[in-house]
Amino acid sequence: MSSAATNVIELDVRTDEMLVNMGPQHPSTHGVLRLVLRTDGEVVSEVMPHIGYLHRCAEKIGENLTPRQYIPYTDRMDYLAGMNMNVGWALTVEKLMGLEVPEKGRHLRVIISELGRIASHLVGMGAYGLDLGSFSPFLYAFREREKILDLFEEVCGARLTYSYLTVGGATADFPPGWIDKCLAFLDQFVPVIDEYHTLLTTNSIFIRRTAGIGVMPGEMAIDYGCSGPVLRGSGVNWDLRRDGEPIYTSMYEGYDWEVVCQTNGQYPSVYTAPNVPTEAVLGDCWHRFYVRMLEVVQAISLVRQGIEKYRTAEGDFGQPVKLTQKLPVGETYLETECPRGQMGFGIVSDGSAIPWRARARSSSFANLSVVPDLCQGCLIADVPAIVGSLDLVMGEIDR
């Protein structure tokens, strides 16, 4: 025996480490993420994410188009929450131009982007169930998402790539009767959330699969630059809608809401949801999922408030600026709270109508970077559970 003061652990069987490709064609990587797993039996010793399969030169394109022309490209970044992308880019340009959106337009944006958040979280939730082998919740989630998409279609004519919210406000106002339809949807949707909780959140197998898995402490989340539900799932009380730049926080001025995050062992009680199971550890997959579920409830409340305010607001909804509007010389950067986290856009302008440099900072990219750390020593089955709980969208990462 060596004299070193070490504890040598010999494994049961000396197995060879195996390199396994999970993706880019794999049912559980939601697109074209490629994870190279180094496994020892069922135990994963290392995960190496490989990205770039969906790279489309989005930033470079931004240097060739005017900001309004660029709006459709932002749709294609986080294609599950195109509306939120639109609003992020629009706000950045507005910040550069010093534009201010009218009151009505502000509430319109809140309604639309919170609906977008619901739609996005529904996919995240349903697909997560799928990742854990439960198929039906996925369809339940999509059923409801389709209803939101119906609403979106009605306002802008598209179901996925909306290009609705744009620099200066929106392309159009809500069609007549749309508000009622939206409210009707929300009324119908609230009880459905309980079904989701039954099928997933409180399901004991679900809890066993997620609680205590992929635990990420708050500091680590901050270190890695995680944001959105991933960050808040680790107990960091941070939401740009509250903590962001004024131009963004002013959008939510007058809204009554709380950041969904466990503080002092408690989630905000305003949003009704099942209790946290004892097995769950703050920062694990279950909490990330749970935060998303609560944010859906939160978004419902925000939409309802937004509708109230919209109805009473006066004036124009905010006409879009000219397509070839010249930009002032300067540089600006703005992050907004998208469903997946902080989506930042930056512009450097030389005074022409076309930005000299367009930049996008993806939340999923930062969230993905924790995968190698979280998956250290987990089981193969935990990899989809962890990756799914981060709710990544490759379109955003690869841009």
Binding site: E10, D12, V13, R14
Partner: protein
């Protein structure tokens, strides 16, 4: 050879079973004598035990011989014990093989010659 020729006309006797048992036994022995893989040798042992079992069962079978001289139930009980003990043996042998594999990084029994004289 006569037994082969008469197989079509004669009823099956203990001798027939014994021939099968012999084939299994010899295959097992040859397997043990030719395989370098420890697990291959283990398989040879299983074959050998099975060859013996065939004989035991045949001698205990009421269908094959006069009842007065058969082993009857004893044959079957012996065979059962053999099966059970073979399972035990396989478990231990497998454990040894895996341990060997851990220590040598190989399953080749030719590597296990460190104690040779």
């Amino acid at each position: 050879m006569p037994i082969l020729a008469s197989l079509l006309t004669e009823p099956i006797g203990v001798a027939h079973y014994m021939v099968v048992g012999a084939v299994l036994f010899v295959c097992g022995v040859v397997c043990m004598a030719t395989k370098r893989n420890a697990l291959g040798i283990l398989m040879g042992i299983e074959l050998v035990l099975n060859g013996a079992n065939v004989n035991l069962v045949a001698l205990g079978s009421p269908y094959l011989r006069g009842e007065s001289a058969t082993l009857m139930l004893d044959g079957q009980l012996m065979a059962m014990f053999v099966i059970v003990l073979a399972a035990a043996e396989a478990a231990v042998a497998l454990a040894i093989a895996l341990n060997f594999y851990n220590n040598f990084g190989s399953i080749d029994v030719d590597r296990a010659n460190q104690l040779k004289g």
